[in-house]
Amino acid sequence: MDLALRSLLSRPTRTALSVLGVAVGVGCALAFTSLARGFRLSLDDYARQTGADLVVFESRAAGDPSFGRISGEDLAALDEVPGVAAVGATAALPAAVEGRSTPILVLGRLPQERPIQAYRTPGLRGRLLQAPDEAMVGALLAQELGLDLGGRLPVLGHSLQVVGVYRTGVRWESGGAVVHLDVVREAMGLPQGAAMMGFVYVEPGSAASEVAATIGQRLPSLRVIPADALTSDFAQLDYLDAFAWVVSLGGLVVGAIGVLNTMFMNVAERVREIGTLRALGWSRGMVMASLLREGLALGLLGTVLGLLAGVGGALALARSVPQGVLQPAFPPVLLLQAAGLGLLLGLVGALWPAWRASRLAPAEALRHE
């Protein structure tokens, strides 16, 4: 077995603690970023499900479209833009529901517009809503509240009749409800005809990018983005990503310090051993490589443990949030990033001690007591 591994195994407690440090760093980074990534992906899925090509919202609301307001006039003007086949208005807000301690997300749709067709899936029971006194509830919410077709959803000051139970690929959407847009407008104080966001459907044969450019020219108060890139315009999601990394950074620093400390102690205890290796003809590079392998081994073990802990932690955290608002996503690139980070921690933590060890004068090292 390699000298590096043997050295680590000969100090099991120290090695285990160091591995744990790396695992905490990698686990935190993976858990938090996977949740942030998952939330972002779910928003993109939400927009994609509508089948729209473009999403429009108020330019002033850059950073968080949910604060935007689009007037009825602008929505009507959108319909007149060449290449636009249809426009759908929407608004959403969190709302309290009797029998539930946390609010649900209520989405407003108009029965005659295309976005509501997104709920016409094989999983739909009942029908799509048609009137302001009706509601569709997500399957998760229905299950939690014991609601079924014909039941009543007490929300936003109304008691709405449940006419449909839907299931979509977005968990937080399945944990919410869809009501008539007028009900949401009333709750939000939006004027008749206004909306928070608009979905634009482009005519077959028209280029979405050209239509977007025309909208930008004609209606400068609106911001237009491709529906599949909805989250790219949410600055708040960038803050969420940044927060996830900042929190993770703490864990990563702890991991790196753990490796650094372990490697310094390992080197300090093995000065004479290093002198012996140099006397046997080991070059500085060989000594350094051996110690870097120790750091890498710590990083590798910590990474494996950290990946498991990160996935487990993220799933546990997601389960603790009602209705699956937080669903972690583990794309391969994220797992690779986390693994690379763990290995880097081991390598970086070992670099300085390894360099110092390689600079030890052989004779002095041999005299070391």
Partner: protein, 229 residues
């Protein structure tokens, strides 16, 4: 002014040569070696004796290219030590070291401790294993190949250290008080091993008169200077 060169005029081919070797520490305030010169022929066995602090270990370190000389010159197998010489390669291929303390790596097995010396040679692992097994058999310690040094007696550990020093078939063996921690019988058996190969040049620093008596020649150091055979 340097001392006369003991051994000069030997008919043997030269294994190493030292000329006016000086080693000082602390900016010259401490003089560990003060102008030492001698030659050793190939296969010659030389005892280095003298009181503690006389400079024996320092001289061995300089001969082993483990630290640089402050002045003077060392030739090992015809190569003058200095800039441009690959000292790691020299230590791995030409020199063997035995220390007073065995300096075995506690995390490795006996066989792995021997293998560790072959790593700089870039030999494949299977070849390293084969050679380690061979040398351990030769010194009659192969039964302990998989044991950790901590389970071995002092004598056994020192035999492993000799095996490690000899496994690369060095031309010169440098030993610093190799029997210092051993009883007389074990010490003599260890010396047997060190003297086994006639072509191997041995320089052994020792306090033990019995060890010195078994060498071809004795060099005596006092206060960093050779005071004669």
């Amino acid at each position: 002014m340097s001392e006369p060169v003991p051994g000069e005029g030997s008919l043997r081919e030269e294994a190493l040569r030292v000329e006016d070797l000086v080693r000082t520490y602390e900016g010259g305030r401490v003089r560990a070696l003060g102008g030492v010169s001698f030659r050793v022929g190939v296969g010659e066995k030389v005892a280095l004796v003298g009181p503690s602090g006389s400079g024996k270990s320092t001289l061995l370190h300089l001969l082993g290219a483990l630290e640089p000389a402050s002045a003077g010159a060392v030739w090992i197998a015809g190569v003058r030590l200095g800039p441009g010489v690959d000292l790691d390669r020299l230590r791995a291929r030409t020199l063997g070291f035995v220390f007073q303390r065995d300096n075995l790596l506690p995390a490795l097995t006996v066989a792995e401790n021997v293998e560790v010396a072959m790593r700089p040679l870039g030999l494949p692992r299977a070849e390293r294993r084969r050679r380690a097994r061979q040398v351990l058999e030769r010194i009659d310690i192969s039964a302990l190949a998989q044991a950790r040094p901590g389970r071995l007696s002092g004598g056994e550990r020192q035999r492993v250290a000799v095996a490690r020093a000899l496994v690369n078939k060095p031309r010169i063996l440098l030993a610093d008080e190799p029997t210092g921690n051993l009883d007389s019988v074990t010490g003599q058996r260890l010396v047997d091993l060190m003297l086994e190969r006639p072509e191997l040049t041995v320089i052994a620093a020792t306090h033990d008169p019995e060890v010195a008596a078994r060498m071809d020649r004795v060099l005596t150091l006092r206060d960093g200077r050779l005071v004669g055979p």
